[in-house]
């Protein structure tokens, strides 16, 4: 069915930057390789497709930002830049929480290869990722040992302060449910 092929092509173009650039280089060839025979998207739709991709990326950024509020505050405007580097491929999974976890994995890789400042922002990201796992992924028990003072940093960021210093101090965080229907409990030290 032509519509199914058209939709698959648009979904790839909107969510995969490398595929998009390959397509723009030779739209007719890529459309044919995807099995499309009728009037398809072409060079003239280049800017519309880029704009549509930006809209999708902006929506993903807003949803992930809502799930990682401390990380967002810690990184400031760099949160969006780092997210745009991550979101050049389709979201991992079907839910915003899975996209947020994918972004935290990206942050970890980025920190390992290029570093991430302030250093404690990665601890906050890992802390929030663990909270997402405990809240949304049916994990009954989640434990994290983090190298920074998460409680203190969270409190400062919550009131709009910009923490200065290294805040090196071990934090232990635990989330648990006694059953899948019981309320989530949390302990942080």
């Amino acid at each position: 069915m032509e519509l199914a092929l058209q939709q698959k092509l648009l979904a790839q173009l909107a969510s995969d930057r490398a595929f998009r650039e390959t397509f723009f280089a030779d739209p007719a060839r890529v459309a044919a390789s995807e099995g499309l025979t009728g009037e398809a998207l072409s060079q003239s739709h280049c800017e519309q497709l880029r704009q549509f991709a930006r809209v999708l990326q902006h929506r993903r950024l807003a949803q992930v930002g809502e799930l990682l509020p401390l990380t967002h505050k810690a990184l400031g405007t760099r949160f969006a830049d780092l997210f745009h580097n991550y979101a050049i491929t389709p979201p991992s999974g079907t839910r915003p929480c899975e996209d947020a976890l994918g972004f935290v994995r990206h942050l970890k890789q980025h920190a390992a290869t290029e570093g991430l400042e302030p250093e404690w922002s990665l601890s906050l990201a890992r802390y929030e990722a663990a909270q997402i796992e405990a809240t949304w992924l049916d994990e009954r028990l989640v434990f994290r040992c983090l190298p920074h003072a998460v409680r203190k940093l969270s409190a400062l960021l919550a009131v709009g302060d910009v923490p200065a210093g290294s805040y090196r101090r071990l934090s232990l965080a635990l989330w648990w449910r006694t059953s899948t229907r019981s309320r989530l409990k949390h302990w942080l030290r």
Binding site: A11, L56, R181
Partner: protein, 286 residues
């Protein structure tokens, strides 16, 4: 009784809700304090699918204080692959739990080729797309008896090879699917700026007797394109368009959407009150 009359009658008997807000968790407490100033709350239904108990507690709290309208994105009624029966069943369960006067989805698709876009993408305006939408709508309506409203999507992209214009496409989908229209007036304005045409002409061509709900939100000018950012106050041109739409269509409610850069709730309540006055002026509610 003809099918069109039957549907128009059904829509005419839906309650007049007034003006409400698209719910965001960040203003929950403040919203509960201003309960009397908001006539209903619209939730993103997808956020309550496979949700933890804490999220369902929040929904129960909202239900105690407001009429809830569930609005969905991820059912993907326009997908040629067919809708996901498991997701449909989860939506049906949520709707049974909420017992709303109606529920809503989009005239578009969010899923194709294993990719979940998370936001509705437009459909080509072809007979094939009308047929795909119709088939999926009928499947959804068999599973969910509550009336379904469909929203026009906002997109900077126009497919090539259209066999009809957008208002005709929307009319065909509503007619063959037997649903009402959730009219996003911000999308009309954005389309006019981005793709040409005038919102008034677009509005004239729509089946206005099917309009049950209206969405409105502030947009953002990005490189000459108007983007539905839902992050800005309502511009005067949109207030004019809202007035025009409410004057001509038998709307039962208006919903203000705001996603990013949430202002203080008092600012949004000012916009809610202005929209309420528009509805009152056109005798949509008292």
């Amino acid at each position: 009784m003809g099918r069109k009359t039957e549907i128009t009658n059904l829509l005419a008997h839906l309650p007049r809700l007034g003006v409400g807000l698209a719910y965001r968790e960040s203003f929950r407490d403040e919203l509960l304090h201003h309960q009397s100033e908001v006539d209903f709350v619209e939730i993103i239904g997808d956020h309550y699918i496979d949700a933890p108990p804490e999220r369902m507690d929040e929904l129960a709290l909202l239900s105690e204080h407001f009429t809830i309208l569930p609005h969905f994105t991820n059912l993907s009624l326009g997908t040629a692959e067919g809708i996901d029966p498991v997701y449909l069943e989860k939506i049906a369960n949520l709707i049974r739990r909420l017992n709303p006067p109606w529920w809503s989805e989009h005239i578009g698709f969010t899923r194709a080729g294993g990719i979940h876009l998370g936001q509705s993408a437009p459909l080509p305006f072809t007979q094939e797309a009308v047929e795909v939408m119709t088939k999926n709508i009928i499947t959804a309506r068999r599973a969910i008896a509550t009336p379904l409203m469909l929203e026009n999507v906002c997109s900077p992209l126009a497919w090539p090879g259209g066999e009809m214009d957008e208002p005709t496409f929307i009319s065909e989908v509503l007619r063959s699917g037997g649903t009402g229209l959730l009219l996003d007036v911000s999308s009309l304005l954005n389309h006019a700026v981005n793709l040409g045409g005038t919102p008034a002409t677009f509005l004239e061509k729509l089946p206005l007797d099917r309009v049950v709900q209206v969405h409105f939100s502030g947009g953002q000018d990005a490189c000459g394109q108007l983007v539905e950012s839902r992050a800005h106050p309502i511009p005067e041109a949109l207030w004019q368009l809202l007035d025009d739409a409410v004057a001509r269509a038998p709307v039962r409610c208006i919903c203000l959407e705001r996603d990013d850069v949430l202002p203080p709730l008092s600012e949004m309540l000012g916009e809610v009150e202005r929209a309420r006055a528009i509805g009152r002026q056109h005798q949509r509610w008292s």
